[in-house]
């Protein structure tokens, strides 16, 4: 009983101290006023210069009407107490600035989303990356980012930094032209969240049809796996087999079509290992395998 009481008292004291410290910091932050970017540049010259040249730094005054002079504090909060501390970390005023690297992801993201309301980030709130606790700064560099999206690294490099397996798959013989720089991961994925996972479109099929429209149909004769999911037969990130197939032909086809060409009175007979059918791809004859307007067996 005594031990419990002691624990309770210690916990209460600790909590009170934490609350008091937090309140003091909040009070200090309340008192802080804006000092302008010139004051920030006194110590953070490199950040300031990079930001000024960046796309972010130029669009802020143009689109949001926030002059460069006010831009630092539009994200980091008023900096008078931080500036007055003169780099002395023991000074309570030093910590009144919003240092993004120390902020929770929720806080960082709320700051960015205050301005960014584009269509592409509409579903961020329930996206997989947000669920994983990522902050915008995991991928984007506010002061000196690269390209249209102010990324810290190139778009593909940013993604494969975490998604290493997909990065390795892109080096395989059959691949989309990502490693050649002709496509990037965001061609198919929306890292800010989609209706289905992080796909750019509503389904995997619609994502593929962005480029492969000639496979979209609807066809008079449809191949059910095409309607169901392109991933039934293909591995979109890379494969050792041609056309990003999961397995080589004919065995890929035989995983569903157990004994094709059986019982055809005028057909080519069963699939024989010694026969011609084993020496070529099924799609050599069933060429319109994604669907046909004319032929029940997808022949040309």
């Amino acid at each position: 009983m005594r031990t419990r009481l002691m624990s309770f008292v210690i916990a209460a004291v600790c909590l009170s101290w934490l609350a008091a410290a937090g309140a003091a910091q909040e009070k200090a932050a309340e008192k802080a006023t804006e000092v302008g970017a010139a004051a920030c540049a006194g110590c953070h010259a490199e950040h300031s210069e990079n930001f000024k040249k960046s796309k972010h730094g130029k669009r802020l005054p143009a689109v949001k009407k926030i002059d460069f002079e006010k831009s630092c504090e539009s994200c980091h909060g008023p900096g008078s107490l931080h500036a007055a501390a003169g780099g002395d970390k023991s000074n309570p005023g030093f910590a009144t600035i919003k240092k993004t690297s120390g902020l929770p992801a929720v806080e960082v993201n709320a700051t960015c989303l205050g301005c960014h309301k584009q269509k592409g980030i509409m579903l961020w709130g329930t996206s997989a990356h947000k669920q994983a606790g990522l902050s915008c700064l995991k991928c984007h560099s506010v002061h000196d980012g690269k390209g249209k999206a102010q990324l810290a690294k190139d778009a593909t490099e940013t993604c494969i930094g975490c998604h290493k397996k997909e990065g390795a798959d892109m080096q395989l013989p059959s691949h989309h032209p990502v490693r050649e720089g002709k496509l990037s991961c965001v061609g198919c994925h929306n890292p800010h969240g989609g209706a289905e996972g992080n796909l750019a479109k509503e389904t995997l099929e619609d994502t593929c049809f962005q480029c492969h429209v000639n496979k979209a149909g609807p066809f008079a004769y449809e191949h059910p796996p095409v309607v169901e999911s392109c991933a039934t037969c293909h591995k979109p990130h890379g494969s050792v087999n041609e056309s990003l197939l999961k397995q080589s032909q004919p065995t890929l086809c035989m995983t569903c079509h157990k004994w094709p060409h059986v019982q055809r009175a005028n057909g080519v007979g069963a699939l024989r290992v010694s026969g011609l059918q084993q020496r070529g791809r099924c799609t050599d004859c069933h060429k319109d395998i994604h669907g046909s307007e004319r032929h029940v067996f997808f022949k040309n």
Binding site: K182, A195, S248, A270, S274, E293
Partner: protein, 683 residues
């Protein structure tokens, strides 16, 4: 045009002093970056695979220019004008423009080219201990069909995709933005094709195919902010797609006697795909507080094939909510529903002499709900979990247990012979449950260990080769070391199986392992990764023993040979390394390398096969239905020098070596070397 641009760039480079601020555009800032590369290129053997997506000609000069202006030419409003061209003189030119005035109007544009070389890819089997290639082709028509001819002709096949993207953004009111877009996609060139020459006899012919496809997208959209806590975006896209390729027609005496459609003429493709597509998309988000978020989406898609008049309609809805009061806790729930309906055009079926009774398109509905949560109960422990349930319902699918010779039961009847005794129907309904549990622990010295377990359980697989059961485990370790070094390693194992299949007894195993390390310091960074993937599929294989085309069905069925362990196995090893280090005197070196080795085999475990039929090659024991052993490597090394007294100027030298080697069939092997000397100037 190229000459004018080159002269303009050369003039600018010669005339502009360092740090110059021209008065153009009444700019507060104006910058030009010019990048000129002079190159020597050596190519050996076939380029088709080593340069699969590389259409640059590397002929002497390759230029790039970026121009940025920023100022107030129209009063108070700030305007910007960014313009760039890359790959000048490369045959793969690219360009972009981004210009705007304040928040009122913005114009964006981009132009890109992708080249895809469609190389002739041989199909290989192992027979009597030797590799044998494409036995399917005859040389009766087309460009001829001998293997060597195709290896020679096929290497030059490529098509280019040219892509133009224009967008206009107007903001008439502070809370409202209107978007107008136009995209144009034009594919042209030649691709390799194998065509069915004589139906019913398994004889094909190689030929080339013209590629000529055009796609136009027109879009209009609006975005609105609602009281600073919510936003709404709507977009309508209309797409026109047309395949204008010229397809050669093959005429033969063979007729397709089952359907009796072709009357002795066998067109390679009679109908050219033409699709009109309309899509509407409405998205919504609300953030009533920092910790609470709601999202939603409604979309519809109407796709019409102009040739057949068939229509594909799809309606999708999604709603989600997330509560995330701090980095220590979050919970998210999402609901998703989609319905697909195909509307057949019976008139087309009648006019094309198809059998309307045999065609029924699959309609599909999907409903999915997921709940995920993340929690950090202790400073060194993170846990997360996910549960997802999905229900699919399909109408007009193939009979689930098809085991008859009556074609009527196999309503969809489209992808296997309708008289088959096969049992591989598409699932009419299925329910999937997916569960994932994960944890991450931070140990002393900031060592991080992450582990997760995923489980899939379904009552029915949509196809025979899809799993109804899957277990997957992932483990990853990240060890930070002193002086900026770190080591990371990850491993995953998964096994899946279709437990409810009567026929397949198939299962799949996938193991991956990776290890990487690197150094990150103030003067640069160096990193290296190795990844291994080991994938195995097991299933049953059934092969016929007949050596005559005209065998009766009864003979074929009773004469089947079963391989209970038909296997496909693939191993992929990938090593990548990259680094960039700044040296004294403004020097910097950079390099990167990739080596990927991919092997795949489909070993067979049957006794010696039967003697060949008339016109077939000599029979022999086939021990592998698809051996592959390909190595792809790419090495780059570069040096840069930026003089301390002329920071606007960088000179560079770079070299690149890429190689593609197929150890089984080396007909498309090749490599190239590239040497570049460059000057980059920023004003």
């Amino acid at each position: 045009m190229k000459r004018i641009l080159n002269a303009m760039l050369a003039g600018l480079m010669a005339a502009a002093p360092a740090g110059a601020q021209p008065s153009l555009f009444q700019s507060e800032s104006f910058s030009v970056e010019l990048d000129n590369k002079f190159m020597v290129f050596d190519e050996y053997k076939k380029p088709g695979m080593v340069r699969e997506y590389d259409g640059r000609q590397y002929d002497g000069y390759d230029g790039k220019v970026d121009l940025r202006a920023y100022g107030r030419p129209f009063g108070d409003a700030i305007a910007w004008f960014d313009f760039g061209l890359a790959g000048i003189n490369s045959h793969e030119e690219e360009g972009y423009v981004d210009a705007g005035v304040g928040s009122f109007v913005r114009l964006k544009g981009g132009y890109n080219t992708i080249t895809h070389r469609i190389a002739f890819l041989p199909f290989v089997i192992t027979q009597d201990g030797y590799y044998r290639t494409n036995q399917m082709m005859s040389s009766t028509i087309g460009l001829g069909g001998t293997f060597d001819e195709w290896m020679s002709i096929g290497e030059s096949f490529a098509f280019q995709r040219k892509f133009l993207d224009l967008g206009l953004e107007v903001r008439p009111l502070d809370f409202l933005t209107l978007d107008f877009g136009y995209k144009h996609d034009f594919d042209t060139g030649k691709s390799f094709e194998v065509a069915n020459e004589q139906s019913g006899r398994g004889v094909t012919s190689a030929d080339y195919q013209h590629v000529n496809m055009v796609r136009n997208d027109y879009s209009v959209g609006a975005q609105a902010e609602i009281g600073g806590v919510a936003a709404l975006a709507y977009e309508h896209v209309h797409t026109d797609f047309r395949d204008n390729s010229i397809y050669a027609e093959l005429s033969h005496s063979n007729t397709w006697s089952t359907s009796g459609l072709d009357g002795g003429v066998y067109p390679r493709r009679e109908h050219w795909p033409m699709v009109r597509w309309d899509q509407d998309d409405l998205r919504f988000r609300a953030h009533p507080s920092k910790s609470l978020a709601f999202t939603g989406m409604l979309s519809s898609s109407r796709r019409r094939a102009a040739t057949s008049g068939f229509k594909a309609l799809a309606y999708t809805g999604m709603a989600g909510a997330s509560y995330n009061p701090s980095d220590h806790f979050s919970v998210t729930s999402k609901f998703y529903a989609r319905g697909n309906v195909i509307r057949e055009n019976m008139g087309y079926l009648d006019s094309a002499n198809l059998n309307p009774g045999s065609i029924e398109q699959i309609d599909k509905s999907t409903v999915r709900w997921e709940l995920s949560a993340r929690h950090q109960p202790l400073s060194f422990l993170h846990v997360d979990g996910l549960y997802k349930v999905e229900y699919n319902r399909r109408r007009y699918v193939a009979a689930e247990r098809f085991n008859t010779t009556t074609s009527g039961l196999y309503q969809d009847g489209t992808f296997i012979t309708h008289e088959t005794a096969q049992q591989n129907g598409t699932a009419g309904q299925d329910t999937k449950h997916i569960m994932r549990l994960g944890a991450m622990v931070v140990l002393p010295y900031d060592v991080e260990v992450e582990a997760s377990y995923k489980r899939l359980q379904a009552n029915r697989a949509v196809f025979e080769n899809m799993p109804t059961w899957e277990n997957a485990v992932d483990v990853a370790v990240n060890v930070p070391l002193p002086a900026g070094f770190s080591v990371t390693s990850a491993m995953s194992k998964s096994a899946s199986r279709n437990k409810f299949s009567n026929l397949m007894r198939g299962h799949r195993k996938l193991d991956t392992w990776s290890v990487g390390g690197g150094w990150n310091g103030s003067r640069g960074s160096v990193g290296m990764d190795f990844s291994r993937e080991d994938e195995r599929y097991f299933s049953e294989g059934w092969f016929g023993l007949s050596n005559k085309y005209s065998d009766t069905s009864a003979n074929l069925v009773t004469d089947m040979m079963r391989d209970p362990f038909m296997r496909y196995e693939a191993k992929n090893d990938v090593v990548t390394a990259s680094g960039r280090v700044r040296l004294p005197l403004g020097l910097a070196v950079n390099g990167s390398g990739t080596y990927a080795r991919s092997r795949a085999n489909t070993p067979t475990f049957l006794d010696r096969f039967r003697a060949p039929g008339a016109g077939e090659d000599a029979a022999g024991q086939v021990t592998d239905l698809g051996p592959t052993d390909i190595r792809v490597q790419s090495l780059r090394f570069g040096m840069e020098w930026t003089p301390e007294k002329a920071q606007y100027l960088t000179t560079s030298f770079a070299m690149r070596f890429d190689r593609y080697r197929d150890k089984v069939e080396g007909g498309m092997n090749g490599h190239f070397k590239l040497y570049e000397a460059g000057v980059n100037a920023k004003f």
